[in-house]
Amino acid sequence: MPIQLLTGDTIGKIAAGEVVERPASAAKELLENALDAGARRIAVSVASGGTELIEVSDDGDGMDAAGLALAIQRHATSKLRRFEDLDTLTTLGFRGEALPSIAAVSVLAVRTRRAQDATGAAIAVRFGEAEQPRAVAAPPGTTVSVRDLFANVPARRKFLRQTGTEAAYIGRSVAAYAAANPGVAFTFEQDGRRAFGTDGGGDQIATAAGVFGADVGAAALPLAPLDESAAVPGVTVEGWVGTPSLIRSHRQGLVFFVNGRWIQNRALAFALEEAYHSLLMVGRHPVGVVSIRLDPAAVDVNVHPTKAEVKFLDERAVCRAVQRAAHAALAGVPRAVLPELRWEPLPGPEQQTLAIPDQRSPDRRELVIPPERSGTALAAHPQASGVPIMRVLGQVAGTFIIAEGPNGMYLIDQHAAHERVMYEKFLGQIASRSADRQPLLDPLIVDLAPEELAAWERSTAELVQLGFEIEAFGGGAVAVRAVPALMRGVDVAERLRLILRELAEGGAGESWLDAVAISAACHASIRAGQSLSLAEMRELVADLERTDHPRACGHGRPTMLHMTQGELERQFGRR
C-alpha cells in the first residue's frame, strides 16, 4: 500500500482514541474544562453509562462565538501559548485536544455565554462535522453535552464494559473532582436520579460527606498543614484521609490530585498506606482524597495523553510530604471506633445462647458467659487511646480474652494484644537509645538455616539496637550473648529463628528497624493457646489500654472485636 496522508477524519478518530478511552475519560475532560473556566457550580448528568448522554454545565467564564468555533478545532486552547508555558501551567488542560477529540466520536453540542456578552453562542458537531455557531440565549457559563459517544467507532464501543460499570467509572471521576474541589458546588445525576451533591462551601469534610456519604464524612480526618519542622518545602498537602475503620479491599477509595489534576501514582499510594502501617490488615486499603500542590515547574504533566500520570522532579519529597501529613492526621485523633461484630442468629429453636465462632464446628456457635454477671452496661469511660476500660471475664480456647466494656462485650486476641504492647515497648525503648538487654550466663548457640543466616546478617545493626547481642559462630550457627530485657522467659533459640524467618520473607514495617521490631515483638509475645490467669489477663488488657494504637498488632491484625449491648439484646430477642 502506498504511503499517503491520513484524512482529517481518521486523524481525529485516532487522536480521540488516545484522549477518550471510555465515557469516563470524556467526562473527566469536560470536568477539567469547567474547572479551568473558574466555575463555582458544576452539574454533571449522564445517561446509560455515558454512552447515551454526558452533560456538563458550569457557571464559568464561557466563550464568545469566535472562541467557540475555535474551541472545537484541534490544538486550539486558551491555556497555553508557548511550550515553555507548560512550566508555569496552572490549568488542568493545555493541549487543546479534548473537545475536538470528543467531537470526533460523538454528537457534541456546546452552548455558552460570557457574563459580559448579551447573547450566547451554540454549536453542534456530528462526529467531527461542525455546524456554524449560532447565537442563542444562554445562562453565563458553558454547557457541553455529548451524545452517542463512540457511535461511529464500533470497535471502541464493543470494548466498553456494561453500562453499570461505565457509569461507575464516571461516578468515580466526578466524585474525585467534587471531593478535591470543596469550593465548587457539584451535582451529579445518573439516569435522571441525583447521585450526590456538594454545597461548594469550601469545607473538605462536609464535601466528603456530601460526595461519599455521612459515614465517610464522620470518619474523615483532615490533612492539616504541617509545622515547619515536619513540612517538606515546596509541597503542600490538603484533603483528608479516612480513619482505620474506613477501609476498602481495593485502592480505588484513595485518590490523589496534583495541582488540581487527578492522577494515578502507585508510589504516593504506598507512601500514604505506610502512614497507616500497623493499623490496617493486610489487603485492606485506606480511603481519602489527597490534594498536593507544588510549583508547576516541579512536576511534568505532559507524559501521558490523558494526563493520568505525572512525573515529579523529586518524587520522594512528595511521598514524604504525603506520608507525614497522613501520619499527623492519624496521630491526632482518638480511634474510638472498634470493629463491630454482627453475629448472625442461629437458625431454628436452639438459639438460646449467643453465637460465637467455635473452632470445632463452623456452623454451631455458642458462648457461655459466667453466670454471676449479667451484661449490665457500665458508664462510658472514653480513653484517649480509644479503648474503653474493660473488665476481664475469662478466656476462650486459650486464645481470646472475654471482657466487658461500657457498651457490651469485647473479645481480645491475647497474642495480637500482647504483640501490640511489646511492639510499643520496643519502640519506646529504642526511641532514644538502644534497648536494655540481659546478657546470658553462657552463650546460646543457635543453628540457622541459610536464609535465616542471611536475614541475621542483614539485620545485625537493628537486632543490636533492640537488645540482641549475637555473634557469628561459624558453620551456619550464631552465638547469642544477650537478649532484649523485654524478651525473658521464652525459648530464645526458637524465637530468634522465628524472627529471622519472618525477616527472610521480607518483614513488615516502615523501615527495616521497624520490621525487626515488629517481628521481635510478635515472637516475644504470649501465644495463642496459652492459658492465662485472670490476673495476667487483667494486666495484659490494662497494658493494651495504655498503648497508643491498641486496636491492631504490629502486623495490622485486629486486637479486639466488639459486640455491643444492643446487638446482644437483639440476638436474645430482647429487642
Binding site: G428, I430, A435, P439, L440, L441, G489, D491, V492
Partner: protein, 382 residues
Amino acid sequence: MKVSCLQDGLQRALAQASRAVATKTALPVLSNVLLATDEGRLRIAATNLEVGITTWIGASIEEEGRITVDARLLSEFVNTLPNAPVQLAVESARSSLTVQSGRDKAGINGIDADDFPVIPSLEAGGEAFTADVDPQVLREMIAQVEFAAATDESRPVLAGVLMRFEEQRLTLAAADGFRLAVREGELGQAVGERLDIIVPARALRELARIIGDQTAPVRLAITPNRSQLLVRVGETEFLSRLIDGTFPDFKQIVPREFGTTLEMGRDAFLNAVRRASYFARDNNDVIRLTVHPGEEAFMPGSVEVSATAAERGNSQSFVDASVDGSETQIAFNARYLADVLGILKHGQVMIGMNGGNQAGVVRAANGDDYTHVIMPMVIGAQ
C-alpha cells in the same frame, strides 16, 4: 483384700501420695491411688509418670489384695471420717473398694491394680547407686537452688537441677541462662564413684515438701536401670525421672576474683531491693546498684539501690556496706536479686562484682557453701 487401719494414718498417707496423682491425664488409672497389702502393712502409691510417691502405714491384714480407686474421692471420704479404725475391703470378684468406719460406709468403684504402673522401691534392692544425706541439709540445698532452674523447656537440662555426688560431697546446681545457683553439702559417707544426675526442678520441690521436718537420714538411690532417682524419707519413697543430657560446666561460669566486694546486712539490702522493685516493674525490672566506697580507708561505704520507670517515678535507697574495691555501678533484674536474698539466712551477705558488664556473685558472708551468680543487665546506650 480385707484390711483395717487407723483413720489418721490413712488420711496422712493419702494426702502424701495424692501429690503424685495426675490431674490431667488420658490414662484414668493415673488419677487413682494404689492400695495394696505389703508384708503386714498397707502400701499406698500414686504416680503421674513424672514422679511417684509410695508410703506405707501399719494395718492389720485379714486378707491380702490390692486395688486402685479415685484418689480424690477416697481422700475426701476418709478426711471426714472420725479418728477410729477404718475397714477397707475388696471383693475379689469385683473391682470395688468398700470403706467402712462404724456405721459410715462407702463403695468406691476402682480399676484393677494390674493396670497400675510398677513403681520401683528401695525395698526391692539392687540399686545402681546409693548415698545418704541429712534431710534438713538436703531440704535447704534444694530450696537454695531450685528456683534458679529454667521454667521453660527450651533447654531441657536447664529445667532440671544438677546433683553431683563426689567423694563425701553433694553439689546441687541450677541455672536458667541468666543466673546460676550452686550449693554444696556433706554426704553421710563417701561415694565410690563420681555421679552426675539431672532431676527436674519440680520434682525436687516435691521432695523437699515430703522431707518436711524429718530428721532421720535420707537415702538417695539410682534405680537399677539408671533412669530414675529413688529417695527414701522415713516410711515414704519418692521416685523421679531423670533428665538426659549434660549440665553446663558451671564451675567455669563462677568468677573467682572481684574488683569490688561488699558486705552488708541481708535484711536491709533485701528491703531496699524490694522498694526499688516496685518502681522497676514497668522498666524490665531493672534496678541499679551504685557502690560508694568509704571516703577513707576503714570508713564504711554504702550501696545506693535505685530504680526508675519513665511513667511511674523513681526510688532511691542507701544501705550501709563495707566496701572493698573501687566505686562501681551495676544493674540487675530486681527479681533475681530478691529471689536469692530471700533464700539466704538473716545476717550478712557478700556481693562480688567486676564492673557493670560482668557477672555478679552473691554469697552469705560467713560461708562459702553457697554461690549465686547473676548476669547484670546492660542498660541501652544513649
